[in-house]
Symmetry: C2
Subunit: 232 residues, 2 copies
Amino acid sequence: MSKFYGIGVGPGDSSLLTLKAVDTIKKLDILYAPEGMKGKDSIALGIVKEFLQPHTKIKTRYFPMSFASKEKEVEWEAVAKEIEEDVKKGEEVGFVTLGDPMIYSTYVYVLKRLREKIEIQTIPGISSFSCIAASQNFPLVMDKEPLVIAPCTMPEEELKNLLYRHTNLVLMKVYKNFPQIVKQIKEANLLEYAILVCDGSKGTEQVFTNLEEEGIEDKISYFSTILINKNK
Amino acid sequence: MSKFYGIGVGPGDSSLLTLKAVDTIKKLDILYAPEGMKGKDSIALGIVKEFLQPHTKIKTRYFPMSFASKEKEVEWEAVAKEIEEDVKKGEEVGFVTLGDPMIYSTYVYVLKRLREKIEIQTIPGISSFSCIAASQNFPLVMDKEPLVIAPCTMPEEELKNLLYRHTNLVLMKVYKNFPQIVKQIKEANLLEYAILVCDGSKGTEQVFTNLEEEGIEDKISYFSTILINKNK
């Protein structure tokens, strides 16, 4: 019976694909690749390009990234419908997604619409934070501590509470509110335990150990993550 | 110049190795494999066995897992010293570790002792929770929510707070205090959003969607993880 495969392709470097992801990509009849804002999701297709076989048909589909829009619901519904029809025709169908499919991935919106209808296999991928931590030899968490992974698009007060309560954090999407986030980290006395990594795994990686460095705001990129570990 | 490579080998299934991990393992002169309690860490060597080359020398070393013992400090120090000497002799030296090297891995104890002394490259791996979530098609976190990864060896009061404050959690090491942990999840009104997975990625995987199932305590294994997502 044919299946739908949700494939985590990792953060950017093709060598961080798993063997399972590569084997799966090679056997697909159809591969869906999400296309979003800022070129973000065309990256997923780029990562697997060298492993694509001539018989695999590529379907690039637009996935709006904005929150709470009616538009995105309509788009996801349409893509899910199309995938369902392809699988029911007997095709092996894949969907590539950056990082890990179960952690902040648009793949989940498709998965939720399809899991009662067709057989689905999800293949895990390397998360951007695992990649960044490895490249910096920066331990994220040990022993009995919890690790908190938080998108900084959350309400300011919630972020503040996380910073006061925890010593091991990954802060994602720090680009938009950067000065405010640095201020909050400082107030929680965690600044000396934090590093900022921009464009990890993209060949243009930049690392900042001083988050108050002059002019840092002009240097950081959309793909910026802060790692904090008080016991590193 | 020769290097020390910390290699994340994922949770158990060899096909979840990254291409980079496989390429690195193939070029090693020496591979260190940690051996711990309950056969846990010999698994790391088992995962990469099929990719080992005849020229690679295997050094299995004992890594005590108990907390706060003087014994483990002595053992880690000795292994770190031996690795340092091997690298300084010009050997390409690797160390395999389960899951991801930067998340609850004994590799960090070696890394901390060596990072000022030799060149080190860490290669990320698939975490056990990513693998379990994928195999269950269970989304871990979306949008603006934080994801909390917590070892249940932490103090009871801290776990209770986490369960009251968050909706997306991965609870690891739930084996020891299982009835108490289930009670806490129930008190936080999260029981219906939780699943328990034992031996994920080991071929003997068991999944429980009812954590109060009769006799569950006798069925669960040492490698048990609970996933919670209120919006799954």
